[in-house]
Symmetry: C2
Subunit: 234 residues, 2 copies
């Protein structure tokens, strides 16, 4: 393989730059407690996962759709007659998720500062448009990015478009994130490099097998390893 | 004023290219009927408007936030104990809004076809990311646009960014839409031309006074007048 000049680095946001799945799981714990009189936790989780899967094509990713799916699950589980306090508490939980403070994960700010000296950094994320913009602003990381792309789906054509728009094409770009399914596999398919930085929790919908042995793939233990891996590529 | 070469035309989507407010109003009628035992229509509308206004900064624009605001209003009005069928019906109404068929308004397809021969067309719209993409796909109008920008807020900096990204800057661009507040005033502020094409219904949040006498502003009776107005500019 010839030496490549990486010009552009795409970064996932949720669970790569800041906590996200943890906040969803905490809300789900609260939902379990709220519904404890009606359903065992495992049964409740399975029903919620089913409702979320059914709604994904219509609601997309993000807190608002999740809140609506929680309400729908509560309806299902209570035979269509949830106590008012359940609905009130779900609405409150949704609002709290949307206004949750955002703090960069350990090592993120330093890695961004270093990377931004050598590459064009582009944030590539799914979720609610306004909420993702607000989280980026609250994180204080906005200054490091030359582009922000909030997208409804991450597939190969997404990365092709994003790296053409903000860089010099996918072949000279690397994508980095915690989801093999959304960040790594479609970026490789688009011709980019890709690094996987696992987060301790992964939403079932995002699970996939790592492309071990792929020449443009790396598994990193933390974002602190990203600058070193990139500089070793070209 | 020197002759200007307009290179880029921005178009709003909801209530400019296809019906939107009508669908919200129909859902609101349904909500009134659903809550008839609890509140007079005027009182209900006022409470809903208040809840929407309060939630706007957190939920942004779009059907999912509207659905959550309907549920919250139903909670308020029923003293926190809405009948289950009310919640079920609101969830169903939200899903129906998200899967509502999309048909271009009269004259839109022909105007787009004509405009696309002379200008770069950019769709600029607020709302839920996934839903707006789905509506554009369902409308069959996607082929006419060189760029699609789904944004959380339409202000002068939005138009500056969009017309720089997809065109030759705001000074050589024109924005066209049904909202004076979102489509016309901030586009003029950014230095672009702007045409207002009223829709019979306007959400209270979008109302503003027309900038009568502004040299780069026009009030058009329908989108069919847009190509003629643009070609008269330079």
């Amino acid at each position: 393989m010839p030496l490549m000049a990486i010009t552009t680095v795409g970064l996932d946001a949720d669970d790569t730059l800041w906590h996200n799945e943890t906040i969803f799981r905490l809300t789900q714990d609260r939902f379990r407690a709220l519904m404890a009189d009606y359903a065992e936790p495992e049964f409740l989780d399975a029903r919620l996962a089913e409702v979320e899967r059914r709604n994904l094509a219509l609601y997309g990713y993000g807190v608002k759709g999740f809140t609506l799916s929680l309400i729908e699950t509560a309806m299902d589980i209570t035979g269509g007659q949830p106590p008012g306090r359940v609905i009130a508490d779900i609405l409150a939980a949704g609002r709290e998720m949307l206004s949750h403070p955002v703090e960069p994960l350990p090592g993120v700010r330093q890695a961004m500062a270093e990377l931004s000296q050598h590459y064009r950094l582009v944030l590539v994320t799914k979720g609610d448009l306004l909420h993702q913009e607000q989280k980026l602003a609250a994180s204080g990381l906005g200054e490091f990015f030359v582009g922000v792309e909030i997208v409804s789906e991450k597939d190969a054509s997404t990365y092709d478009r994003v790296f053409t728009r903000h860089g010099t094409g996918a072949a000279e770009a690397a994508m980095c994130g915690n989801s093999l399914r959304s960040d790594v596999l479609p970026a490789l398919e688009a011709g980019a490099f890709a690094a996987h930085i696992p987060y301790p929790l992964t939403w079932a919908h995002e699970l996939a097998d790592p492309p071990l042995g792929h020449p443009r793939f790396a598994e990193l233990a933390s974002i602190a390893e990203l600058p070193g891996w990139l500089s070793g590529l070209g």
